[in-house]
């Protein structure tokens, strides 16, 4: 078969599509529809683009991993000599990332020479550690006994309705993380609500919308 080097105009433009996967995919689909197959010349060209991309991604990955490795080394240097240091290291990881990312834990397991399952055994036992990234803003309802007696269950129900998620979850737009806490020690202000670290006391369900809207938009207005 005659080589079709100069029969395909798309081949010369394909580099223009390199940075836009969606357009590239569309182009390939169009060609396939038009020709019934993807010509080798085009396929080679795409392969070249992919090779470059793969290289770039690999560079990124090593960069991230070496950062992770560096962090993990710092934690271990700080706490390594101490017995029973695992929980303190996990606290440091959560302080840095806002949660405990899996790749960091894997690196930690490698560096400390303990099994991943052993770390997860501890991680999942304690409520304080988060395994998924939390939302941008944090909304905590205190469900200590004093707050409960003064109606914080109503606050919980109202927030669940407003944000459209049960406690312990994050809204789809990742704006709000909503959780229940057991006693923040402000029993004189019951029922209490903590929004991004700021405590609001004696909160009525009707005030929730205005309190939350000061920080970020809320899905369902009252």
């Amino acid at each position: 078969m005659e080589p079709r080097t100069n029969t395909l105009p798309a081949q010369n433009h394909i580099q223009d599509y390199a940075d836009d996967e969606a357009r590239l995919l569309k182009l390939l689909e169009d060609i396939e529809e038009h020709h019934g197959f993807i010509p080798k010349a085009i396929a080679d060209e795409v392969e070249k683009i992919l090779e470059i991309k793969r290289d770039r991604i690999n560079t990124l990955r090593t960069r991230i991993e070496s950062q992770v490795r560096k962090d993990v080394r710092t934690y271990i240097d700080r706490w390594g000599a101490e017995e029973g240091n695992l929980i303190m290291i996990l606290h440091e990881i959560q302080n840095q990332h806002g949660y405990v990312p899996r790749n960091v834990v894997m690196e930690l397991a490698r560096e400390m020479g303990i099994r991943l399952a052993r770390i997860y055994e501890v991680l999942t036992f304690y409520h304080y550690f988060k395994l998924v990234p939390p939302g941008k803003h944090n909304c905590q309802v205190c469900l200590g006994t004093a707050c409960y007696l003064k109606g914080s269950a109503n606050l919980e129900a109202e927030l669940e309705r407003m944000l459209g998620i049960p406690p312990g979850q994050t809204t789809a737009d990742r704006e709000w993380h909503f959780e229940i806490v057991r006693c923040i020690g402000c029993c004189g202000l019951a029922p209490a609500l903590v929004v991004d670290g700021k405590t609001h006391g004696k909160v009525m369900p009707s005030e929730l919308h205005s309190i939350l809207s000061q920080t970020a938009p809320v899905g369902n207005p009252t």
């Binding site: 101490e82 017995e83 029973g84 240091n85 695992l86 929980i87 303190m88 996990l90 606290h91 055994e121 501890v122 036992f125 304690y126 409520h127 304080y128 550690f129 469900l143 200590g144 006994t145 004093a146 409960y148 007696l149 003064k150 109606g151 109503n154 129900a157 806490v181 057991r182 006693c183 923040i184 020690g185 402000c186 029993c187 004189g188 202000l189 019951a190 209490a192 405590t199 006391g201």
Partner: protein
């Protein structure tokens, strides 16, 4: 090489003891109420205007219901405590005290004078103040009437230097009619009526005599031992703690040839663990001391997981050095090599202040190698909890410090014999440790003179819930629950009557109104089906449904169960299902006996305190309020729906 205390105190007081100071209570509760903003504003105004007054940071006085609380001593006015000082009032407070030499109306916390004496006002020109407040809860407030009559009478009768009459914010007396407090004479009058006004002005204010029939003589029901420094010193500066004789008890213990005198003192004091179980502290120390081992540990249990309790947080935030000193004394007595503070991660301010206090103590050579030249080495570290209630149990706490899951293990062996990494370990609660320096200084016998039967000394309680004044109190053991709820905390909010008091959190039980006359002690609370616990005290009123409360506490324990032993893991869950069934109005008559039998199995067969005590809220509500369970069972779903609706609406529910 002892601490150069004098030099330190001089350094502190050269700057600290001016004639005028203003102290802001900056603990978690105060900050939530706006105290940090107030503190910043006061500092800014004082700096800008170069006012002759020092703004200082202190911890919490325990008066949560009056936050933000401020103590002020200006050159021309006696020392006063103010409550509800919102940041907006900063300027007004300063101008009133410094420019106009006046007291703010409606903000003074009357009859409150903990700690040191007020600095006398120079020239002897003490302005005479008279505070008035109606302490009854009915709508008919007679304060203004008496206030007006007093002012008129004073205007008529006293020409030179007339006393000013001010409306107080809180008299710390309740249901005693109109109360009049005259601080410069130290007199309190209760149940003051219109005809008494002339007598008060002529006899007391003019002649300085006491009107006996009006005089309120009862002594203060509170006694501050553990809370001695809370809210009065700066928790972030060791000099302040040294200035109130801090670390003196430790110094004595450190250079004593033997630890026997300390253990004897503690034995004489009758101090028992304030974490709730009430094991004699001296015995715990003695056992740990007598186990031969090259390595021993001391641990301070600050994992205050009980919802509704904030005693430990308050002490750690307001007076961290007293806890450090207590732990140092414990360590020296039993010969420990390392100490751990186990603090909840949910208490960031407590952790920060504790870490800061540890750093300062290390700097002064109170912790570390060759402490104060005695040749004794001891190190202290902070370990953070991570949100597990069960870690308050000592064997689970040990597992957590070791970096493992906080699962309890069977005892014996007790931690005193085999604790952290298999070494002898003494674990004490924050409150126990904070009290020890004070006990050793006042003498074990005089501390032991306070109290009731087998329970000696004082106990701190966090009184919260439907109570009028949620606050932290410290009372001698043997004070009745009624005194605590009605006399100190003013009874219930609003018109509803007190229905029950719950002590000990999820491990405790409810005590009905009728039994409130029983004294607070380890034994009497146990006999009532509750426990002393760490000191949470929840007041419930008539609108609270006991089935719902039992369910709430049980849910907490089920959530927090570590899952290691079956009685707790399975029993708790099954019982919760039964309670839920009853609360939904689908209960059957046979459910109550079944719940009882599960409770007994859990109490007997669970591995640790969490499972053994989890049935307490259920059993005690069944014991005193079984009729409420029966009402749900008989009333069926329509009754349950009605109750649920009322609860959600926040309306008044009279429960039969």
């Amino acid at each position: 090489m002892k601490i150069d205390r004098q030099q330190l105190i001089e350094r502190t007081y050269a700057r600290k003891r001016p004639a005028a100071y203003i102290r802001v209570g900056l603990d978690t509760g105060g900050i939530a109420a706006g105290a940090s903003l107030l503190y910043e504003r006061l500092k800014k105004i004082v700096a800008e205007k170069h006012l002759p007054i020092e703004v200082e940071r202190v911890g919490s006085l325990g008066l949560s219901y009056l936050d933000p609380v401020v103590e002020i001593q200006s050159a021309t006015l006696p020392r006063l405590f103010y409550g509800h000082i919102q940041p907006e009032l900063a300027e007004e407070l300063l101008t009133a005290h410094l420019d106009r030499h006046e007291v703010l109306d409606r903000h003074v916390i009357a009859r409150f004078d903990p700690g040191e004496e007020s600095t006398p006002v120079p020239n002897g020109k003490t302005p005479q103040l008279v505070f008035v407040l109606d302490t009854d809860t009915d709508e008919n407030d007679k304060t203004d009437f008496i206030l007006f009559s007093l002012r008129e009478e004073i205007k008529r009768s006293i020409a030179a230097n007339p006393p000013s009459v001010i409306r107080a914010l809180d008299m710390r007396l309740y249901n005693k009619g109109v109360v009049v407090w005259i601080p410069h004479l130290g007199i309190t009058y209760t149940h003051v009526l219109a005809p008494d006004v002339t007598r008060i002005v002529h006899q007391t204010l003019i002649k300085g005599e006491v009107v006996e029939d009006l005089r309120f003589k009862a002594p203060d029901k509170q006694q501050r031992v553990v809370l001695r420094n809370c809210g009065l010193i700066d928790p972030e500066r060791i000099e302040d703690y040294l200035a109130v004789d801090g670390y003196q008890a430790f110094e004595k213990v450190l250079f004593a040839p033997s630890s026997d005198p300390v253990i004897d003192e503690l034995k004489a004091s009758g101090l028992r663990g304030r974490g709730g179980a009430g094991f004699p502290t001296w015995l715990k120390w003695k056992i740990t001391r007598d186990v031969p081992s090259d390595i021993k540990y001391v641990v301070c249990n600050g994992d205050e997981g009980d919802p509704g309790a904030f005693m430990d947080r308050s002490v750690l935030e307001s007076d961290p050095h007293s806890v450090i000193e207590g732990l140092l004394i414990a360590a020296r007595c039993i010969g420990a090599t390392t100490g751990y503070f186990y603090i909840r991660a949910e208490y960031p301010l407590a952790i920060k202040r504790m870490q800061n206090a540890l750093d300062q103590a290390k700097e002064l050579g109170l912790i570390g190698k060759n402490i104060l030249g005695s040749g004794w080495d001891f190190d202290m570290k902070i370990r953070l909890g991570a949100g597990a209630f069960v870690c308050g149990e000592e064997t689970a706490l040990i597992a957590s410090i070791e970096g493992k899951r906080g699962s309890p293990s069977p005892r014996p062996p007790y931690p005193s014999v085999s604790g952290l990494w298999g070494k002898p370990t003494a674990i004490n609660n924050v409150e126990t440790l904070a009290g020890i320096p004070a006990i050793l200084q006042m003498g074990g016998a005089s501390y032991g003179a306070i109290g009731h039967e087998q329970s000696r000394g004082t106990k701190v309680f966090a009184v919260t819930g439907k109570v009028r004044n949620a606050q932290l109190i410290e009372v001698p053991m043997g004070t009745t629950l009624r005194d605590i709820v009605y006399e100190i905390c003013g009874g219930c909010q609003g018109k509803a009557a007190v229905k029950a008091v719950q002590t000990g959190g999820p491990s405790g039980g409810v005590i009905p109104e009728a039994k409130l006359d029983s004294p607070v002690s380890y034994e009497s609370l146990r006999d009532l089906g509750s426990i002393m616990g760490s000191g949470g005290m929840l007041v419930m009123d008539e609108n609270d449904c006991m089935v719902d409360i039992a369910k709430f506490y049980l849910k907490f324990c089920v959530d927090e169960s570590c899952g290691k032993c079956a009685p707790c893991r399975v029993g708790g869950y099954q019982m919760l299902q039964l309670l839920d069934k009853i609360a939904r109005g689908m209960g059957e008559a046979s459910d109550v006996p079944l719940i009882r039998s599960i409770c007994i199995s859990m109490q007997n067969a669970s591995l640790c305190g969490l499972g053994q005590t989890a049935p307490n809220p259920v059993l005690s509500t069944l014991r005193y309020f079984e009729s409420e369970y029966q009402a749900y069972i008989e009333g069926g779903r329509s009754y349950a729906r009605k109750m649920k609706k009322l609860r959600e609406g926040g309306e008044v529910v009279r429960i039969p």
